[in-house]
Structure formats: structure tokens, C-alpha cells
């Protein structure tokens, strides 16, 4: 009797979160999956089972072999942007977190500097992106400066509305999502472990590779999940910084939505979800996050 009561109370305590989760996450996901298997024509969706959304998406993929079809090219391109952004945010995020955790001695300064990292988040996403335009544009500060110094005669075209500017903006936007979890992992590393490593004759690099990186792994994986999921689904940054010229997985969904082809958009969303889940499960195979938390 008492046991029953206990489990009931536990369920009751978990209920609000479960309700929010079911209502705003599971249910929409279910709708999207259902809609992705509906039929559609030029102006409406038809609630009848059809895999047209999927077959349209992969149109020509077999016929055009060995050259790649649009969807595969788009996904490869998105993966490339994602990989570049991930590598750069990891490198910068790890370095910043390392500096904060091991070089800044006082707790106050650690807090102050971490808060400083959040300053870019005080303005909106779009403003932070647009701010790059006067800097990188044809007549922007960078081009003017380089011309002034005499390094270039013609403005560099690849600075803005290019993959370069997309990756730059993505790295600028999302490095902080790497810094925080890695810093959090690092701050929990017992400083005596590092002394023990030096005591055993390890050099700075050896300590980094054999002690710090393995122990910061949960933070690295969590930060990676943040960055990868955001970049894989992103279409705003890629759109604005790519001058609407660069295709991405998110962009396909947006285009389909604008064309009111909801089943096709939903099918693409399901595919994107599948790809992202694959990447994340591969990452979590490297580190068992639940064990490390």
C-alpha cells in the first residue's frame, strides 16, 4: 500500500514535465511523421497514405548515378559546413575553456570572463549576423583595409555571401555552446590530478592528451551535440550569410514550406532528424554521457 503511494507520488511529481514534453515535443513530432506520409498536389495536402514526399525528395538519385542528386549534394554540403563549424568551435571552445579553467586562478575572474563570453548573446541572432556585412562586404572594413595597406587591388569576393562567411558566422554564434560544457567538465577536474601527472614526469602536452582531454570528454561531447544539432537544422544563418545562394538541409525544408508542400517538408524534416540522430548516437557511443554526468 505504502509502496503504491510512493510510486504514485513520484509519477505525480514527474507529471508536469511529462505533460509539457508530450504536448510540445512528442505530439508535434508524431504529426510531422504522419504528415510526411501524406499525399499532396500543387496547392493542398491530401490526407491519404503516400510516400510521394520521400520519393520526390530522392528524385533521380538512382537514375543520375554515379553523379549525385540534389538532395545528396545538399546533405553533403550541409555536413561539410557542419564539420567545419564543429572543428572550429571545438578548437576555439576548448582553448577558451582551458584558459578559463586552468589559467584564471580566481573564481571572481572566472565568472566575470565567462559572463563576458555571453555578451554577443545580448543582441539578437539576426543583428549579430548583419553586423558582419559592413565588415566583410565589397566595400567593407576588411576589403578597404587590405586595399589601403596595398595587399590587394580588387576587393575579395569570397569574404561575404560565401561558405567562408557562413562558417565564420556559425562559429561566431555557436562557440559559446562549446565553451560552457567543456569549461564545466574541466572545472571539475581535481587539480591534484594534474600535479600527479607532472609528478610522473609528463610534459604539458602529455598531460593535456592523457589527463585533461579524456576527463573533459563529456563536455566535449555535449558541446558537440549542441553545435551539430543546431548547425544541421540551421537555415537562417546559412541563408543570410550565404546570400540565399547556399543549399542546406534546413533550406530545403524552408523552400518546401514556402511552396506549401507540407508533406514534402515533413518528409525532409524526418530525414534530417534521422541523420542528426545517427550522428549523435555515433558520438554518444564514443562517450557514455549518462555515466559521466
Amino acid at each position: 500500500m505504502k509502496q503504491h503511494r510512493k510510486t504514485f507520488v513520484a509519477w505525480l511529481q514527474a507529471a508536469p514535465m511529462m505533460l509539457v514534453f508530450a504536448l510540445f515535443f512528442l505530439l508535434p513530432l508524431l504529426f510531422v511523421t504522419v504528415v510526411s506520409a501524406w499525399d499532396y498536389n500543387e496547392y493542398e495536402m491530401i490526407p491519404a497514405f503516400s510516400l510521394r514526399g520521400y520519393s520526390d525528395t530522392f528524385e533521380g538519385c538512382i537514375a543520375e548515378l554515379p553523379s549525385l542528386c540534389t538532395i545528396l549534394k545538399t546533405y553533403l554540403n550541409t555536413l561539410k559546413l557542419c564539420l567545419l563549424t564543429w572543428a572550429l568551435t571545438l578548437l576555439i571552445g576548448f582553448t577558451v575553456a582551458y584558459f578559463l579553467a586552468f589559467h584564471v586562478r580566481s573564481k571572481t575572474w572566472q565568472i566575470v570572463l565567462t559572463l563576458l563570453c555571453t555578451i554577443p548573446f545580448w543582441t539578437s541572432n539576426v543583428i549579430r549576423m548583419i553586423a558582419w556585412i559592413p565588415l566583410l562586404g565589397r566595400n567593407g572594413l576588411v576589403n578597404r583595409g587590405l586595399e589601403g595597406v596595398g595587399l590587394i587591388r580588387q576587393p575579395l569576393e569570397w569574404l561575404l555571401f560565401s561558405e567562408f562567411s557562413v562558417v565564420l558566422a556559425l562559429v561566431h554564434l555557436f562557440t559559446f555552446f562549446m565553451v560552457v560544457p567543456i569549461f564545466n567538465s574541466m572545472i571539475r577536474i581535481d587539480k591534484r590530478l594534474i600535479e600527479a601527472s607532472y609528478d610522473a614526469g609528463a610534459t604539458g602536452w602529455q598531460t593535456l592528451l592523457n589527463v585533461i582531454i579524456p576527463l573533459a570528454k563529456p563536455g566535449i561531447v555535449i558541446g558537440s551535440i549542441f553545435v551539430i544539432t543546431i548547425v544541421m537544422g540551421d537555415f537562417v544563418t546559412i541563408g543570410v550569410m550565404g546570400g540565399q545562394q547556399i543549399a542546406s538541409a534546413g533550406k530545403i525544408i524552408e523552400a518546401r514550406l514556402n511552396a506549401l508542400q507540407f508533406p514534402a517538408a515533413a518528409a525532409n524534416a524526418v530525414i534530417l532528424l534521422g541523420v542528426t540522430i545517427l550522428i549523435i548516437s555515433a558520438l554518444t557511443r564514443v562517450v557514455d554521457i549518462r555515466k559521466e554526468l
Binding site: 581535481d190 591534484r192 590530478l193 600535479e195 600527479a196 601527472s197 607532472y198 609528478d199 610522473a200 614526469g201 609528463a202 610534459t203 602529455q206 592523457n210 589527463v211 579524456p214 576527463l215
Partner: protein, 344 residues
């Protein structure tokens, strides 16, 4: 692997900003001896050990390991190894990889370093746990692994930072005995930092009692216990009463006080008071006497003595002692005194 070295500290000083943690100490510890750096927290004993290990920079002075001046060498080049407080085992590495870590850093191949690590695990009786992670071990087992890890570089001096403080009292006594046995077998110089005087008394060949960044007194445990030179030493080491006779202060062991009734004639020095507490302790009886004038002293008498006299609270007594058994104390400015009650 049993080559060992003496340790010498010359005018060793450590300052943190304006605070002097270690104040120009000089110390010589012969090779192969077990030395305990003893003192209350903040006395500079840990700073001293960390400077010897190379984890703390030296403000001034020198550290010599054998004939070699190691003051400015990195930790691994000093022929010392440190066993850290709460052990600092690498949580992501198995026991055998923890022990073999130093060899891995030197680039020794896996099979060779595992073979060497197994030998040391054998020494500390932990070979059955080679594949475990530190988190799966008990405190005592972790300590043995930490010991094996420290010994794998064949150090000449082993530095132990409060090695027993993380253990429960029962295990502490057992590991204490094992440490002493291991030190005897290896014949290696051990420098052990502790704040427990019982630990120091049980283990050390040389006790170095520190206070306020200076060495208060050093010597064998018996020398220190029987001839404390300062009030601080007498109180910290425990088992003593500090009694003032005229202008001089003496330390008298609690078990060397004799109690007399006021009517008895007393030849030696004595002090009068009222019994304020009687505690039966099994092997002895502790009688606390409130001296006329404020302070309290305690006497430790045998059960037989207690039975014949049957002291009761409120009774007037004379506490007396043999002047040859008392130590004259030099008054120092060291007033930080801990309760001596723990001593037996």
C-alpha cells in the same frame, strides 16, 4: 630500487604575497629514515612538502636530495615521488594504467610497463584489481594503488601528504602499520605530513613539529614526548600538563603526577587544587584538578592507586611530581595551542 637519499633543507622559505608560510627552516633527514612533519593546519608543513616535491616554487633557500640541489628542477627530475592527499588517482584509467602512467610518459612499451606495474601491484598486494577503475576501489585499496604509482619511478624519497586522513579510524590503524612495514622493507626515506600526533609517534624515526612556519622542535618521538622544550610542543604532543612554578613553566606528563591529600607532607614541587572531574578509562583513571588560580591539570593514575585513595569530585588534593621528570619550558610567542586531550 632501494637506493635512497638524505634530504636537506637550507633556509627554505615560502611567501604567499606578504604571508610567510615557511620561515627559513633548516632540516636534515638522514637517508632511509621515516620522518613525520607534524603540526596544526596552517603551520607550513604541507607547503614544505610541496616545495620538496616541486609543486610549489621556492621563495628562497635550497632543497638537497642526497648531494644534488633540486631547488629549481621539475618534479620528475628530483628523485622524489609524491603520494597525494586523497590519492589523486586518474579516474579514467584502470589500476594498472594508473600505476604504469609514469612509464607511459617515458615512452615505455605497453607490455613492458604493464609487467613493471604488475610487480608493484604485487608489492602492495593489489594484483587482483589490476583491471578495475579507481572509483570501484575502497579507500584503503586506492591508497595502495597510489603507493604503487608513486613507487614505480624508483624514487629515492617518497613524499606522503596526509596519506591516512581519508580513511576511517579502523582502516587508518591498519594502513599505518602497513606504511611502516613497507618503509622498513624498502629502506627508503619517507616524508609524511600529518596533523595527528599519534600518527607521528607511531610511525616516525624523526618527528619535526612545525608551528607558524618554523620548526618548533625535532627529534625522535621519545625525545619529543619526554623532553618538550616549549609550551606549544607540550600541549600539541599531548599527555602533558603545563604547570607554572614561580616564574618558570614546566611540562609534566599526566602519568607522572602523584596525588596527595593536603595533610600529607610533600617534598618535591606541588600545586594544590580541587578535583573537578573523575573519568574511568579502563586501563587508567583520569582525574581533573582545578588549580587554585584558574587553570586545570589532569593526572592519570592506575586503578589500584585510585581504589586505595578513592578520589571524589570536590575533594582537595595536592598534585606533586619528581622534578627530574619535569621539563623546563622556554616561553615562546607561539600561543596557538590545540587541546591536548586526545593523547593517551
Amino acid at each position: 630500487m632501494t637506493t635512497t637519499a638524505a634530504l636537506e633543507l637550507v633556509q627554505l622559505t615560502k611567501k604567499y604575497g606578504g604571508v610567510t608560510a615557511v620561515d627559513a627552516i633548516n632540516l636534515k633527514i638522514p637517508a632511509g629514515s621515516y620522518c613525520c612533519l607534524l603540526g596544526p593546519s596552517g603551520c607550513g608543513k604541507t607547503s614544505t612538502l610541496r616545495m620538496v616535491a616541486g609543486h610549489e616554487s621556492v621563495t628562497s633557500g635550497d632543497i638537497l636530495v642526497g648531494p644534488k640541489n633540486v631547488t629549481d628542477l621539475p618534479p620528475a627530475d628530483r628523485s622524489t615521488a609524491m603520494m597525494f592527499q586523497s590519492y589523486a588517482l586518474f579516474p579514467h584509467l584502470s589500476v594498472i594504467d594508473n600505476v604504469g602512467f609514469a612509464l607511459k610518459m617515458k615512452g615505455v612499451a605497453k607490455t613492458a610497463r604493464h609487467a613493471e606495474a604488475r610487480k608493484l601491484l604485487d608489492l602492495v598486494d593489489m594484483q587482483a584489481y589490476a583491471a578495475r577503475l579507481p572509483g570501484q576501489l575502497s579507500g584503503g585499496q586506492q591508497q595502495r594503488v597510489a603507493l604503487a604509482r608513486a613507487l614505480i619511478t624508483s624514487p629515492q624519497i617518497l613524499l606522503l601528504d596526509e596519506p591516512l586522513s581519508a580513511l576511517d579510524p579502523f582502516l587508518r590503524l591498519r594502513m599505518r602499520a602497513e606504511l611502516k612495514k613497507l618503509q622498513r622493507e624498502l629502506g627508503m626515506t619517507f616524508i609524511h605530513v600529518t596533523h595527528g600526533q599519534d600518527e607521528a609517534m607511531a610511525l616516525a624515526d624523526i618527528v619535526v613539529l612545525m608551528n607558524g612556519g618554523r620548526i618548533e622542535q625535532q627529534g625522535s618521538p621519545r625525545e619529543i614526548f619526554n623532553h618538550p622544550r616549549t609550551e606549544f610542543t607540550a600541549r600539541f604532543i599531548g599527555g602533558h600538563n603545563v604547570v607554572a612554578v614561580g616564574a618558570e613553566t614546566f611540562a609534566v606528563r599526566v602519568d607522572r603526577l602523584a596525588l596527595k591529600t593536603p595533610s600529607e607532607t610533600v617534598t618535591g614541587p606541588s600545586t594544590a587544587g580541587t578535583i573537578s572531574e573523575v573519568e574511568y578509562q579502563g586501563t587508567y583513571v583520569r582525574v581533573v584538578i582545578a588549580i587554585d588560580g584558574g587553570s586545570e591539570i589532569s593526572a592519570q593514575i592506575t586503578e589500584t592507586q585510585f581504589d586505595t585513595a578513592s578520589y571524589a569530585v570536590g575533594e582537595r588534593v595536592l598534585a606533586t611530581w619528581d622534578p627530574a621528570q619535569a621539563s623546563l619550558l622556554t616561553t615562546t610567542g607561539s600561543a596557538i595551542v590545540r587541546s591536548p586531550e586526545k593523547a593517551a
